[in-house]
Amino acid sequence: MIVAEWKPIPEVVEKLRGHKKVLVVGCATCVAECAAGGEREVETLAPLLRMAMIKDSNPIEVCTNTLERQCEWEFVEGLAPTIMEVDAVVSLACGIGVQALAERFSEVPIYPGVNTTALAIREEPGLWAARCVACGDCVLGETLGLCPIARCAKSILNGPCGGTRDGGKCEIDENIDCIWHLIYERAQARGKVDALLEIKKTKDWSNSDHGGPKRILREDLRL
């Protein structure tokens, strides 16, 4: 899922100064799963914003709504009647959802209430960890299903680097596994260490953000 985290509330409050009626919009998909922007979080943030704005001497009216998916036009359209009654929106969706609202309702200021931070999995309750960076050239077939692009701090293709700590942890954070350590262990368990001896050539990053804004065109699906 796409994971996001709340922005510091004062940062949102700063944006809302001068507004009178604000809509806080959640998304019931990824950001609900990662407890950042689902209905629960919308209903938590709304009272906090009301309180913060009163403390800030800028009382505002805050209403709420949570869309099934904020990144699909069909669902976004459902906001049309409400949006005319507010003068600003705080979106708790990922950057895609925020932009969908901003595109459909371009006359109303849309402020992000979260920072979108990763493509991650819920490893344990209350713990999410990156699994993918959308690099556009998947190597999971060669790395035994463990991603060295998303999960190695240096995105090394011929790891592990010299920074592996005791216990197989990363040099930058002792709570992060050295993914190459895990790849090695899995390779050993499967009798595939030989596959790690081959030198992986420089990667083509162009089918991702590095190649300019991504655009996918599928003629078979177009009208």
Partner: protein, 140 residues
Amino acid sequence: MSDRFEPEILVLYCGRALADHNHLPEGTKQGAGFKVRFVMMPCSSKIETRDLVKLIEQGVEGVLMVPCLENKCQFLVGNVRAEKRMKYARALLDEVGMGADRLSMAQGWNLSSEELMALADERASAVRPLGRNPLKGVKL
């Protein structure tokens, strides 16, 4: 005016925290210099962060959550969850400038109604210096 300020305290308690399950305190009571409303919860874990935040938004001066003892929860970890939510909600209130201290928690077991009232009294004394909840009576 400060002499007449009577903080409004909300006590959310786990029914299991009290000794006499047949006579659980309910509704609003007048304490010595404060008002208190008792609400019995089937388990303290029923209360989510948003509820705690909303209660303060609705104007009460102080909330006291009384879960049962840590290893006595009928759902095993309900009271542990409640404690973590309480901690998070307190941090959020701090972040918006309301101060964390309007929310608090005290574990209980085998409490009498009087003892619960005494806890509410303690709570009232603790929030009195914070003054009136600025959200009290605000219509939005």
